[in-house]
Amino acid sequence: MSEVIPQNAGYMVAAYIVTAIIVLAYAASLYRRTRGR
Amino acid sequence: MSDLLRHAWVIARKDLVIELRSRTAFVSTLVFTVLVLIVFNFGRDPTATAVLDLAPGILCVTFTFAAMLALNRAFQLELENQALDGLLLTPISRRSIYLGKLIANLAFVGLVEAVGLPLFVVFFNVPVGHVLPALAGLIALATIGFVAVGTLFSAMVIRTRFAELMLPVLQLPFSIPPLVLAVLATAKLFTGRPLDESLGYLKLLAAYDIVFIGLSTLLFPATVEE
């Protein structure tokens, strides 16, 4: 078995960015909705 | 206990009598079933795929659609006649009402399937004679599971907006286990596998039915109480 590590960092980056977007978007939505409470 | 069943039967009979008088709903559901079978036939390339590969899926999906239609009709009937409100004023227990509606729905769907199955055999030339009892039992078990949950939900969606849309949306995830198990078992039966290979699936179907009839009976009062 060759020891070459697969070059797929693109997917990792995409996943980390997408997760950040979803989490931050939801956090922002909650922040707006709880303003003034 | 006997009160429960007796009242359930009274309610079921009332619903079924209404059905038999007009027959429109039954005929329409039957026509729909036939149309779905026909569409499936034209949806495949006869030279590319053997019928036997697709047959289990075609049968089970067709019956699922027919059952959905039947549940919708049950709910429409409720809406028109407001029979449910009248029923709730009687001293009949909520559980009897649920069981009665379940029996009526099952009878309706069962009749459609009883006519649909021979048509399926004719259209797709699938030999089922030798496995008919097992097949019938399998279809019955899967239908029971599907209709049990559907009867519960159709009582719920009456008071929601977009009710005709809500029922399928809520119902479909719950139809997957009976559907998958039925397709798996049907495939075994159609390809002539020995019966005990399907037994596991049938047992699971029975478990699903018991769990969800029990759960629905328990929860039904919550959907109709004031």
Partner: protein, 218 residues
């Protein structure tokens, strides 16, 4: 401090710690030899899955409790947990295929776990749609509780059905086990991420619960 402001504080701490997870996972955790960099998606995907499942289990529990005692706070909690669970479910559904594509060679596979994810998502959506469609709060609470309980009971059946379905149609691609035995460094990153996602769940639910307080459209 109000519930909302405490929720905001918890969320803020969780978000800062999440940055820590990112840094640790990306820069300080070694590459996995067979899956490459894509394996690191695992540090987000699995904790998100945990939060999504936890959220659904709590929706189920709160639903049972609501039907038993009719305390509207349980209903409000269920609504909050469902919305938060949906958000984590979306993370799970997006990171899953992004991980599957490089590692399994396909964006989607009808295996037990991914399919369960999809069904969890449909249950959440159905639950939220139902809540939107019922104007009366008392009726809404009861109906949601019924759906919540049925949905939670359904999940093990889905898992079982999909598992049975899969074993009959084996994948030509060999599935990589997700976590055979993690070396220490990776395990620590994963556990840290679990903690952060749990904290994030708590902060989100606190805020969402607070939003529900004025009761207009929970």
């Amino acid at each position: 401090m109000t519930l909302a402001s405490r929720g905001r504080a918890v969320t803020l701490v969780a978000l800062l710690l999440l940055v820590g997870v990112y840094v640790r996972a990306l820069a300080f955790t070694p590459l996995e030899r067979f899956q490459g960099a894509a394996q690191k998606i695992f540090y987000l995907h699995v904790p998100a899955a945990w939060s999504a499942m936890l959220a659904m289990a709590l929706v189920g529990l709160a639903s049972v409790l609501y039907l038993l005692v009719k305390d509207p706070r349980y209903d409000r909690f269920a609504a909050a947990s469902a919305e938060v669970g949906t958000a984590f479910c979306v993370v799970m559904l997006t990171t899953g295929p992004l991980w599957a594509r490089p590692v399994w060679g396909t964006w989607w596979a009808w295996d037990a776990r991914l399919t369960l994810t999809l069904f969890l998502f449909f249950l959440y959506i159905g639950y939220l749609l139902l809540r939107q469609a019922v104007p009366d709060p008392g009726v809404r609470a009861r109906y949601s509780a019924v759906l919540g309980i049925c949905g939670t009971v359904l999940l093990p059946f889905i898992h079982l059905s999909v598992y049975l379905f899969r074993t009959l149609h084996p994948q030509p691609i060999v599935l990589k086990p997700s976590a055979p035995s993690l070396p220490g460094v990776m395990l620590v990153t994963l556990l840290y991420s679990f903690g952060v996602f749990t904290l994030l769940y708590i902060g989100f639910v606190m805020q969402r619960y607070a939003v529900g307080e004025e009761g207009s459209h929970v």
